[in-house]
């Protein structure tokens, strides 16, 4: 506890000085990311052959979209002070379910309904996974990392059992449109990612849920004492994250016209956490920079693409990604201290 006098001193000083540094601080972080992205694009325009081709854009967008969608949910979970390791496994589950549904006898007999069910049912199953995670975390008090580890391990197992461990290939143009279709030249999943980003950003900013989310992550005890339904908020958040992962699983399967339970969503949890951290999320909770997350995902994607397109071996890109995360965490940390 500080002495009253020093607190007053700081408070009075803050009256005149506070607004300027605060505004620029929020923006500096975001601006830094925008500038870095711009520089990276410029570098590519100069270095990488055919970078401005539509095909290049399409490739990058189709690769980054699933990461971005999962990272949005991850950012929300991280904002509660938690983490969700099960997103990759949930992708595998929903990815395995979809072909089973539209490829079933019923699905083939009712193509329209079958397609709808092949999208809605996997998403519902994914949401249930999130409800399970959230319940463990908020009612049983299990550490998020452990709680979500359960589905991280078992989820992919379930997906493999569903598909007998086989690669399922299929031909269903209506479904694969989700991964290969274009609207105005941009892949469908790119539009989905952008739309979801905007929706989630609005939810965080405008809704009571968003406000509760930040208060639970910022100081859970204080939030609970102010009447915030902490358990509900957490469960809803894990449910959203899993549903988004389920959607990403569908897109992944649609892109490949094949579902491989061992591969779909593999290591996705780490990519999503990386995107969130680079985007400005703090693992201690209380912040949900949604636009930052989208930019973070794009940034990591572009760095990888730049290196590969310029002949740097695949393995080296991991090292660079790691370096980016270290820098992001460092910036995060130095910001906390100021």
């Amino acid at each position: 506890m500080s002495e009253p006098s020093s607190l007053t001193g700081r408070g009075l000083g803050g009256v005149g000085e506070a607004p300027a540094p605060r505004r620029s601080r929020v923006n500096r972080r975001f601006l830094g990311l925008v500038v870095a992205l711009a520089a990276l694009i410029l570098l590519n325009v100069l270095l990488t052959p055919n970078f401005l081709a539509v095909q290049t854009l399409a490739v990058n967008v189709s690769q980054v979209s699933t990461v971005a969608i999962v990272a949005l949910g991850m950012t929300l979970v991280i904002a509660t002070g938690g983490v969700d390791l099960s997103v990759g496994a949930v992708m595998a589950v929903s990815g395995a379910l979809a072909p089973l549904i539209f490829g079933s006898a019923w699905g083939l007999a009712n193509p329209g309904l079958g397609l709808l069910a092949a999208i809605v049912l996997p998403l519902l199953v994914a949401m249930c996974c999130g409800l399970f995670n959230g319940t463990l975390v908020s009612f049983l008090g299990v550490q998020p990392i452990i709680a979500t580890l359960i589905l991280f391990i078992s989820g992919r197992g379930v997906a493999q059992v569903l598909t007998n461990g086989n690669l399922q290939t299929f031909s269903n143009p209506s479904f694969t449109w989700l991964g290969t279709g274009r609207i105005l030249g941009l892949p469908v999943q790119g539009w989905i990612a952008i739309l979801l980003t905007l929706v989630v950003a609005l939810i965080v900013r405008k809704t009571i849920y968003g406000r509760y989310l930040l208060s639970v992550g910022g100081n859970e005890r204080a939030a609970a004492l102010a009447g915030t339904p902490v358990a509900k908020v957490k469960i809803a958040t894990y449910a959203i994250a899993s549903t988004f992962a389920g959607l990403a699983g569908l897109i992944d399967v649609a892109i490949n016209s094949a579902s491989d339970a061992a591969r779909v969503g593999n290591l996705m949890e780490l990519d999503a956490i990386a995107a969130a951290v680079v985007g400005g999320a703090a693992l201690s909770g209380g912040r949900a920079p949604i636009l930052g997350t989208l930019l973070g995902a794009i940034f990591i994607q572009l760095v990888g693409y730049t290196l590969i397109a310029n002949g740097v071996p695949d393995e080296a890109t991991f090292i660079v990604t790691a370096a980016i995360i270290v820098i992001a965490v460092y910036l995060q940390d130095s910001r906390r201290r100021t």
Partner: protein, 512 residues
């Protein structure tokens, strides 16, 4: 007269020029249990830390067994035979009982490996001295806190400590566990070990201590045999008051003016909780401030927590607005019209990264939202109103609350609750740690709301705040409400008397 084991005289210590100890002394005889008492900030912990080598003294002398010593580190202190058991246990809960007892002093075999058989034997012997038997190979953390505390004491004793320092050892123990602990302390004493005992629970001192040293404002103001003193004398010494005046005040007739108050809003009868609240009888009327007075640990905050649905109520009844209620969460309490401004602003109050606006409307959000969307225009209007009405000094309402001064943070939190227009506002040390200006402002804001019919339950360690602010004062001791004083007519002396006097004297119920 025996030579003291420890004699500290004229100890001075300042931090950054601000004196924490001005003229402190402490004398402990061999084989005695010696109590150290004083209010928060009296300098008890600083004195102990100098004794255990955590801090260096600026001036003064320390004699250990008659010889001057200079203890430069906790290791030095352990070397001469001073062991400390802190309030928070410093053992390793995941390791076994044996491992914890021998930690750092493991017996070795010829080959340098740990001799577990010898270690077990030592652990068994240490524990048997206190008549406790444990499974030595179970994790320490699987035992109740009291047992863990006993193991810590056993460990200290096994290091042949001559002086054992116990800082608030009973604050997390229940009554039976406290008895066990006292038994162990008496056994240690019988073996010639001295104990320095720090506790806020004054009644305990009379059960187990031989001598007592009283500190106030960095000075030692008294040292006496426990048999020659009384709880009232101790409290008078801690607060720097004249005990005779306090005794006389106890006999003053108290006025029973009740004209200001409206209907009863909150009524607790025999309320108890799972957290040291044993029997609370309380009535708060609309338009009335009821003060809760008592020493630290007397159950003031626990009363508030039980009423606000934070702790599990284990007995008694609670009526709010004339109806029996069970409030099992803060949300229930808020819905019943109760608000609670907590004591610990940082831990239980502010959301540091959120703005003044977001902090102020946190509890109000359900009423500010339609279909889950926060009506930000209305929100800004309300917040602007409170910033003006409460005189909150902030650059603008979107400034993060952590950048505000303590007094202004407190006003924002007060605004958080006032925005709900509560029928009962519970205030736990509302003006602690805020500067004088903000303090007066906060008090006048509260007074204004009381005039408008709000009921207030005020917890404060400042007698002045209670006496000047409260219409009635309910006095708590050891988790029980023991008397009720009515204003006007309460004086500082009569309040201290009520706090200090044992509850079983004739005029307990006189005021009721």
């Amino acid at each position: 007269m025996t030579e003291p084991l420890l004699q500290m005289t004229g100890i001075q210590k300042a931090f950054a020029g601000i004196p924490a100890l001005r003229e402190a002394s402490l004398r402990i005889l061999p084989g005695e249990v010696h109590a150290l008492v004083g209010q928060n900030g009296a300098g008890k912990s600083t004195l102990i830390k100098i004794l255990t080598g955590v801090y260096r003294r600026d001036a003064g002398e320390v004699l250990w067994q008659g010889r001057p010593v200079d203890l430069r580190s906790p290791r030095d202190a352990q070397g001469v035979g001073i062991a400390t058991i802190y309030q928070e246990l410093t053992l390793v809960p995941q390791r076994t009982v044996t491992e914890n007892i021998v930690l750092g002093y493991e017996p070795r075999t010829r080959w340098g490996a740990i001799d577990w058989r010898a270690a077990d034997a030592r652990a068994r012997e240490v524990l048997s001295r206190f008549g406790i038997e444990l499974d030595l190979h179970r994790a320490l953390g699987s035992y109740p806190t009291a047992i863990q505390q006993l193991v810590a004491i056993g460990r200290a004793a096994s290091m042949e400590a001559k002086l054992l320092i116990m800082d608030e050892p009973t604050s997390s123990l229940d009554e039976r566990e406290v008895e066990t602990l006292f038994g162990v302390m008496r056994a240690l004493k019988a073996r010639g070990t001295s104990i320095l005992y720090v506790s806020h629970f004054l009644d305990e001192l009379f059960a187990v201590c031989d001598g007592v040293t009283i500190m106030r404002d960095g000075r030692t103001v008294g040292e006496t045999r426990i048999a020659d003193t009384s709880k009232l004398d101790l409290i008078a010494g801690m607060l720097g008051r004249d005990p005779d005046e306090i005794r006389a005040a106890g006999r003053t007739q108290l006025s029973t003016d009740q004209t200001h108050a409206g209907p009863v809003f909150l009524e607790a009868k025999g309320l108890s909780s799972d957290r040291r609240l044993r029997r609370l009888d309380l009535e708060v009327r609309a338009g009335e401030i009821v003060g809760l007075a008592g020493l630290l640990g007397s159950g003031r905050t626990e009363s508030a927590r039980a009423i606000f649905g934070m702790d599990k109520v284990t007995g008694g009844t609670l009526r709010v607005g004339g109806r029996d209620v069970r409030l099992s969460s803060p949300r229930d309490a808020i819905d019943a019209g109760i608000a609670f401004l907590t004591e610990d602003r940082k831990v239980e109050g502010i959301i540091p990264d959120l703005s003044v606006r977001e902090n102020l409307t946190l509890a109000l959000l359900p009423r500010l939202s339609k279909m889950g969307i926060v009506d930000e225009a209305r929100e800004r209007q309300i917040v602007q109103g409170f910033i003006k009405a409460l005189g909150i000094r902030t650059a603008d309402m979107d400034q993060p609350i952590r950048e505000l001064s303590g007094g202004n943070q407190q006003k924002v939190l007060l605004g958080r609750w006032l925005a709900l227009e509560p029928k009962l506002l519970i205030l736990d040390e509302p003006t602690r740690g805020v500067d004088v200006g903000a303090k007066l402002e906060i008090q006048s804001i509260i007074a204004k709301h009381v005039e408008q019919g709000c009921a207030v339950l005020l917890i404060s360690s400042e007698f002045e705040e209670l006496i000047e602010g409260a219409h009635n004062i309910v006095v708590l001791q050891e988790g029980r409400s023991v008397r009720k004083l009515n204003n006007p007519g309460v004086t500082e002396a009569s309040l201290i008397h009520a706090i200090a006097e044992p509850p079983d004297t004739p005029h307990v119920e006189a005021a009721e």
